[in-house]
């Protein structure tokens, strides 16, 4: 039983940053922006969160700094890809490389350390005890006492689904991706919708990054986003941006992450356990492609 609870806790912790980044990616996906900069945004968020929390001694300031850090990359993306109309793919690659370089450089300049920076002055995000849920025998140990950002991510799924499917903004957002010319002829500038989507993506990636350095662990390490932004991208493409689908896929990813940690306890080399999330992504892609090709051949029988 302990193992299962540990696994579920590991799953939620593993899923949270990917989920937040993928929700951000869902907005840009619907808006028709080929945004691959989630990886860099997560990393910038994680760095700025540690920085803010270290200097202010407040995790709230840390989170705000994380949002600001990720947003600055969003603004760069907007400046290049939307205003100057550079290629989105190249812009995204450049921003990811820039984020990796800049955080490494600043880590050495500001803190004089290589690899990882940890300090007791970094204040982590608190865990939240939910009064009634905590009483439930086994489920209480999973549902209550999680990091604030885990609840934040769950709430974000609801808010994003609501924004995308229930509001005029959502109708315009999806229109920008489906057929920008149609949106334009309806009197809405697609560029504005895309800018909004990228800003929302920055905020969500900032939250995800903050969880990496102030929730998952309490340190900043070079390249600590470790491909989560790319997995988020894969999740978004896999489910065509649907927030509920994104939540499901990232939970599967989190489960693989948890299994990896569990296997580490069983003396499986860390190099192998570390592969688990990426293997899970490949398997998900495989299953999805199979299901899609089956659905296609199925529909032709009807016709």
């Amino acid at each position: 039983m302990r193992i299962v609870i540990g696994l579920l806790n590991g799953m939620l912790a593993g899923a949270t940053p990917v989920l937040l980044a993928a929700l951000g990616g869902a907005f840009t996906f619907y808006a028709g922006v080929f945004n691959i900069a989630m990886e860099g945004m997560l990393l910038a968020g994680a760095f700025c969160a540690a920085l803010g929390s270290f200097f202010s001694g407040s995790w709230v300031i840390g989170v705000l700094c994380a949002i600001a850090g990720a947003l600055s990359l969003s603004v760069l993306f907007i400046l290049f890809a939307i205003v100057l109309k550079t290629d989105e793919f190249v812009t995204g690659i450049a921003l990811n490389l820039f984020a990796a370089g800049a955080t490494t450089y600043l880590l050495r300049q500001l803190f004089g350390v290589r690899g990882a920076f940890t300090d007791p002055a970094i204040q982590p995000m608190p865990r939240l005890e939910i009064p009634l849920l905590a009483q439930i025998p086994l489920a209480g140990e999973v549902l209550s006492g999680q990091n604030v950002m885990v609840y934040g991510a769950a709430l974000a799924v609801l808010v994003c689904a609501w924004l995308i499917f229930r509001t005029p903004f959502g109708l315009r957002l999806r229109a920008a991706g489906y057929n920008a010319a149609s949106l334009e002829s309806s009197g809405v500038r697609p560029a504005r919708v895309r800018i909004a989507a990228l800003l929302i993506c920055g905020v969500l990636c900032g939250l995800g990054g903050a969880f990496l350095s102030l929730g998952y662990v309490r340190l900043f390490a070079e390249g600590m986003s470790a491909g989560r932004g790319w997995i988020a991208l894969a999740a978004v493409i896999l489910v065509n941006g649907n927030p509920w689908g994104v939540a499901l896929i990232t939970l599967v990813f989190g489960l693989a992450d948890g299994l990896g940690l569990l296997a580490q306890g069983l003396n499986v080399p860390a190099q192998f356990t570390g592969m688990a999330p990426y293997l899970a992504t490949l398997i998900a892609l495989f299953v999805y492609a199979r299901r899609k090709s089956r659905a296609r051949s199925g529909s032709s029988i009807q016709a």
Binding site: G170, L171, R174, Y178, N179, S182, S185, S300
Partner: protein, 526 residues
């Protein structure tokens, strides 16, 4: 000008000069004068057609009115106030809306979602007010008698229905002037009367309708007044009731046109194209061609009629080798080409593709490069030197084509896209005719061409027939089929449902077969 059309319902207030375009001049760099001092007034509650050849300036005029282009000189008066629209939004806010030639809708959205996009009703909490949105759209549908379901996904609608959605979108925004750019170009013959009935209902409700068209019959049937443009200048504005097709044509081109192609009875030649029992499925496994059999004899033009998407596209692809038939066979001049490569087929087929910019030509290549395509492999003149392209010879070849087909161009190395649509088509047609193949496959050869170029292309086709070529002509223009062909085959859902001598059928019958196949033709003709 200023004469009173008699159709106006008496209860409507008369607002004689509702919109006035005054001395509009528009020049595109470097020195193409698209509009030259054009003045027109549109009255409230009239249907006003703007006609002219391609390049006469009708689309430019509408775009100036709509705010997409800024005129160099001249002014737009709405009532007696001078206005200048800076965007489509400005125009719509002032009550002027445009239904574009290419329909701009989102197939993934339902009808009502498409209609309200950009002007959505909101609830108190800022969410989309679905009930109010649907209700408002339904109200417009009812008010103007559009037969359409607000919850239908637009991707599943016919082109005619999508056009209605575009119109609804403008009505939802309460425009009083609707501009329609070639509204009937995408419709089948039986859908046109329905659109016209709807436009008349809009007029009865006091809306002003401006429409651009090539089809003089339609213009005469629908409009109250007609403005004719030629080369950027207004020729005249005339009441539809007091003019005729030939008069309009003369005003448009400045000379008399022959509208009936001469069809001399020909002795039947031998069979050139023989298609037997061809079946084809697309990549999704959907059956697109079912048991298609067809023959075309030398000196004969066979027309294929059909609503777009009923297998014409696939038939063309299977004939030229872009797709392969699942069953059946294709013979040309006795050669079995069922499994032949495209290059092998092109030894026997001259082919004018429907899509000038994608399949028939490379718009970014030069005129000469486009002119020698296919010739560079199959024409003796070029095929001798296999590894080297003789551009000087290509230039000479292009020059010969320019003379023979009267192409208006400056130099052979000029980019193809710089030519007008009519001249592009002349180059393509010229290239294919100079191949001198026994079989000629023409897919919508006059689509998008102006009256003069259309007539030129049709003359060329008739000449080819007289020279003994076998011609298969796919066209969505029924009048074209009736004026040129010896036989008409109708495609419906991938099958040929009728194959009759042109002289023994008529437009209504073919139209009915196109829409309902042959068996149900007595059912109804909506």
């Amino acid at each position: 000008m200023g004469n009173n059309p008699t159709h106006l319902p008496s209860f409507l207030p008369r607002v004689p000069e509702f919109i006035t375009l005054h001395q509009i001049t528009k020049t595109f760099p470097p020195n193409v004068v698209a509009l030259d001092g054009v003045s027109v007034s549109f009255e409230a509650g009239e249907i006003h057609a703007v006609v002219g050849e391609n390049g006469a300036g009708k689309s430019t005029l509408m775009k100036v009115l709509y705010g997409l282009y800024r005129p160099d000189r001249g002014q737009i008066l709405l009532g007696n106030q001078s206005v200048r629209f800076h965007s489509a939004n400005d125009a719509i806010a002032a009550g002027v809306g445009m239904v574009h030639q290419e329909i701009l809708l989102i197939p993934e959205y339902t009808v009502w979602q498409n209609v309200v996009l950009g002007a959505e009703p909101r609830t108190r909490w800022g969410t989309l007010d679905v009930a109010r949105a649907r209700g408002a759209v339904q109200a417009k549908i009812d008010a103007f008698g559009f037969n359409i379901d607000p919850d239908a996904p637009v991707g599943e609608l016919s082109v005619a229905a999508r056009q209605k959605v575009e119109i609804l979108k403008l009505l939802y925004r309460d425009v009083s002037v609707l501009i329609l750019d070639e509204p009937t170009a995408v419709l089948t013959p039986l859908e046109v009367p329905q659109l016209f009935a709807e436009l008349r209902r809009l007029r009865a409700a006091g809306k002003t309708i401006l429409f651009i068209s090539h089809h003089l019959d339609e213009v005469l049937e629908l409009s109250d007044r007609i403005t004719v443009l030629r080369r950027g200048k207004k020729v005249d504005t005339v009441p539809a009731a007091s003019t005729s097709k030939s008069e309009l044509a003369r005003m448009m081109v400045g000379r008399e046109l022959m509208f009936t192609a001469r069809r001399a009875a020909q002795p039947k030649g031998e069979i050139i194209l023989r298609v037997e029992g061809v079946y084809y499925r697309d990549k999704q496994g959907v059956s697109r061609l079912r048991d298609v059999s067809l023959t075309v004899r030398a000196g004969e033009i066979v027309g294929i009629a059909g609503v777009e998407g009923n297998g014409q596209y696939e038939l063309v692809n299977v004939l030229v080798g872009l797709e392969h038939a699942e069953a059946g066979s294709i013979f040309i001049n006795g050669h079995d080409l069922t499994h032949a490569s495209i290059l092998e087929r092109r030894r026997h087929i001259a082919f004018v593709a429907q899509d000038r910019s994608k399949l028939a030509a490379s718009v970014s290549a030069s005129v000469a490069e486009n002119a020698i395509m296919t010739h560079h492999r199959l024409n003796e003149m070029f095929a001798r030197r296999r590894w080297r392209l003789d551009m000087r010879q290509a230039g000479a070849f292009t020059e010969q084509m320019r003379k023979q087909f009267t192409v208006a161009m400056s130099r052979p190395d000029q980019p193809f896209r710089a030519l007008s649509g009519g001249n592009q088509q002349k180059v393509i047609l010229g290239r294919e005719l100079l191949l001198e193949r026994p079989f000629l496959l023409l897919d919508q050869p006059t689509r998008g061409l102006d009256v003069g170029s259309t007539e030129y292309v049709r003359e060329q086709i008739a000449q080819q027939r007289d020279a003994g070529r076998a011609i298969l002509l796919i066209s969505s223009d029924l009048e074209e089929l009736f004026s040129l062909t010896d036989r008409i085959a109708v495609m419906y859902r991938g099958a040929i449902v009728a194959d009759v001598p042109t002289a023994q059928t008529d437009l209504e019958q073919v139209g009915a077969w196109m829409l309902q196949g042959r068996n149900q033709r007595t059912a109804q003709s909506a």
